[in-house]
């Protein structure tokens, strides 16, 4: 438990717990049913891979605005290429995600474009590709067996949740136990220091964007499986959702902080929030206002705690070195 709470995830634990308790008390007759908890699990595990990708990029000190459009395009390819065989379609979708990630990585590392701006441009291009590919019509899948991956369950556990948990473990090991993963933290924490320590900054940042693009595509594949269909409308909110979830999970826009477990708890918290408010029948106006207030609160608290921590460090340093 102590390990789980280290590294900034404690906010996420508390926010998730608060939301859970709030709805368990106020909407218990609907909220705490097996069926509803399974719904929430399925709903969040479709978004979770994309949020993990955003967390990796944030840890490396970047940001990826293009995740939503990449997810939508991957969903389109998964559905649209099914006549060539579903495995081909899935591989193509994942490869597309990796390519877009590489493109972002190229823009940021070689083009030296600010990540926010570079991925914003990519987003527009990918949306255009999607409009072209779908000819602006919804496209439907033909492989009914494939819907099991997003819609099916193993026992009472939704299949996408298993995939998400597998990704969670894999990414957590990657970030914490491999040299490349630890280097991402170092780069996010301070590029100059990382560079001086002999880390090839560009290559690692490139890797972070490729991971983000690929994971966005994983979300797209799962989504295509669940909906058995794809439209241009998918993923419009994904950038905001993924950034909010990762921040709640302890990541910081300054980079160098955050964990995959935290990102998962963040997306869980937001998923429960939406589900709980729906169960309460909360008016759309208030739902938007509540979500906005949480975003503001989380961001402000993150900033405030960094400021205070820095002041204390400075005070401590001054004490040591008069």
């Amino acid at each position: 438990m102590k390990r789980l709470l280290s590294g900034g995830s404690q906010t996420a634990v508390l926010v998730a717990a608060a939301i859970f308790v709030t709805f368990a008390i106020s909407a218990n007759e609907y909220f705490l049913t097996l069926g509803n908890l399974e719904n929430v699990a399925r709903q969040i595990s479709l978004d979770a891979p994309l949020v993990f990708g955003q967390a990796v990029v944030l840890i490396a000190g970047g940001i990826d605005i293009s995740v939503g459009s990449t997810m939508a395009m991957a969903a389109g390819l998964t559905v649209g290429l099914q006549p060539f065989g579903t495995p081909v379609a899935v591989v193509a979708a994942l490869a597309f995600g990796a390519t877009i990630g590489a493109f972002n990585g190229f823009l940021v590392t070689k083009g030296r474009i600010v990540p926010f701006v570079a991925t914003l441009g990519t987003m527009s291009v990918v949306r255009g590709l999607l409009l072209t590919y779908t000819k602006q019509q919804p496209i439907s899948g033909i492989d009914d067996a494939f819907t099991w991956w997003g819609g099916g369950s193993v026992g009472i556990v939704p299949m996408p949740l298993l995939i998400t948990l597998a990704l969670l473990v894999g990414l957590a090991i990657f970030l914490r136990r491999t040299r490349a993963g630890r280097n991402l933290y170092a780069i996010g924490g301070g590029r100059e220091a990382a560079y001086l320590a002999g880390i090839s900054v560009g290559r690692h940042q490139f890797l972070a964007y490729v991971i983000s693009g690929t994971l966005a595509a994983v979300s797209g594949v799962l989504l295509a499986s669940r909906l058995n269909s794809a439209t241009v409308q998918l993923g419009n909110d994904s950038a905001l959702l993924s950034i909010s979830a990762a921040l709640i999970g302890g990541a910081s826009l300054l980079g160098g902080r955050g964990r995959i477990v935290g990102a998962f708890l963040g997306v869980l918290a937001l998923g429960m929030l939406t589900n709980g408010m729906n169960l309460l029948g909360t008016d759309t106006y208030y739902q938007i206002a509540v979500r906005a207030s949480i975003l503001i609160a989380v961001v402000a608290i993150d900033a405030f705690s960094i400021t205070v921590a820095r002041r204390r460090l400075a005070a401590a340093a001054a004490g040591l070195n008069p």
């Binding site: 280290s6 900034g8 404690q10 508390l14 926010v15 717990a17 608060a18 709030t22 709805f23 106020s26 909407a27 007759e29 609907y30 049913t33 069926g35 509803n36 719904n39 709903q43 479709l46 409009l131 779908t134 602006q136 019509q137 919804p138 899948g141 819609g151 989504l223 669940r226 909906l227 058995n228 269909s229 439209t231 241009v232 409308q233 998918l234 993923g235 419009n236 909110d237 929030l273 939406t274 589900n275 408010m277 729906n278 309460l280 029948g281 909360t282 008016d283 759309t284 208030y286 739902q287 206002a289 509540v290 207030s293 609160a297 608290i301 405030f304 705690s305 205070v308 921590a309 204390r312």
Partner: protein, 318 residues
């Protein structure tokens, strides 16, 4: 030290949050005898507001407890919201499909869990019909077709048309365009479609787009705005340029458009009768709740509003 500080702040925020939600959420709906859970496709449009008004007015008569959800055109959110509806255990679920195919799986889930589903305004596909009781609404394709017929009639089947469309990729956009084109083909009309430009359902964008289209194609004589606000935006651009002889058509039948038709500025609109769609949805839901049979399709007629009949239909404009 730092950790404990973060704990403290987060805890305060959590408390504040709980209060916020409980205040905003109000009381949990009591397990009333007749309840309806509605998932819109996008609530932020006057035509949906009219449907909601119809449902609320009629719902009072039947003592219905109605809850509304708004996925804002996101098919993924819509599926999640239908699931949340199922968890609320309503008498009837009403769905206004964002994407006809994407809702099929969740409709199946609702049906298997024993909740009857009524499709409203935008239907699901044939695979989905196995899990729904009925469809209530006027169809986008029919609206497009009705406008197409009006255009053929008003122009003698000859002319150069530009279409101002909604957000690219949306179901209504494609269907209204297809309907109009089919009407032209059926009437063997010689109507040339010069351009289809999106203005994202925005009056202001339609104004800008129409200006550019007027510059590009000086020979435009027909404009089809896929909803009334966009048609009115286009009309304003035409007036600002002082161009004469362009016939503007819309879809919706809102008050503003009816006034413009009355004044002779607009040539026609396809009225959706959205209020009545809301009313009939509640009636159908009540019949299903009482175990009565309902027809599998309850199509609201699309009423063409033209300068000739606008006076008679004016009271229906919303």
């Amino acid at each position: 030290m730092i950790v404990s500080l973060r704990y403290g702040r987060a805890f305060c925020a959590s408390l504040a949050f709980s209060t916020l939600v409980l205040m905003a959420g109000g009381a949990v709906a009591a397990d009333g005898p007749f309840s309806i859970c509605v998932v819109h496709n996008n609530a932020d449009h006057p035509s949906i507001t009219a449907i909601v008004k119809g449902m609320n007015d009629e719902g009072k008569i039947y003592g219905a407890n109605i809850t509304y959800f708004d996925p804002a055109f996101d098919p993924q959110k819509q599926v999640s919201m239908v699931e949340d509806c199922i968890a609320r255990k309503p008498s009837v679920i009403v769905v206004n499909a964002v994407d006809p195919a994407a809702v099929v799986q969740v409709l199946k889930k609702a049906s298997e869990a024993g909740f009857p589903v009524v499709m409203q305004n935008a239907d699901t596909n044939d695979a989905g019909h196995a899990f729904t009781k009925t469809f209530v609404g006027s169809q986008s394709y029919d609206q497009g077709y009705a406008v197409g017929q009006m255009i053929v009639k008003a122009t003698g089947g000859k002319g150069n048309l530009v279409m101002i469309t909604g957000k690219p990729g949306q179901f209504d956009v494609v269907q209204r365009a297809n309907g109009a084109k089919a009407a032209f083909a059926d009437a063997k009309a010689d109507i040339k479609i010069l351009a289809e430009e999106p203005a994202d359902w925005s009056k202001d964008k339609a104004l800008t787009v129409m200006q550019d289209l007027l510059t590009r194609y000086p020979d435009i004589n027909i404009v089809f705005g896929q909803d009334d606000p966009m048609a009115l935006g286009a009309l304003q651009a035409i007036k600002a340029q002082g161009v004469e002889g362009i016939k503007v058509f819309g879809v919706n039948g809102n008050k503003d458009a009816c006034n413009a038709i009355k004044a002779g500025d607009m040539y026609g609109t396809a009225m959706q009768l959205s209020y009545m769609v809301g009313v009939y949805t509640v009636r159908a839901a009540y019949d299903i709740y009482k175990g009565r049979q309902v027809p599998t399709k309850m199509l609201a007629p699309t009423a063409p509003v033209t300068p000739d009949n606008v006076a008679a239909l004016y009271s229906q404009c919303w």
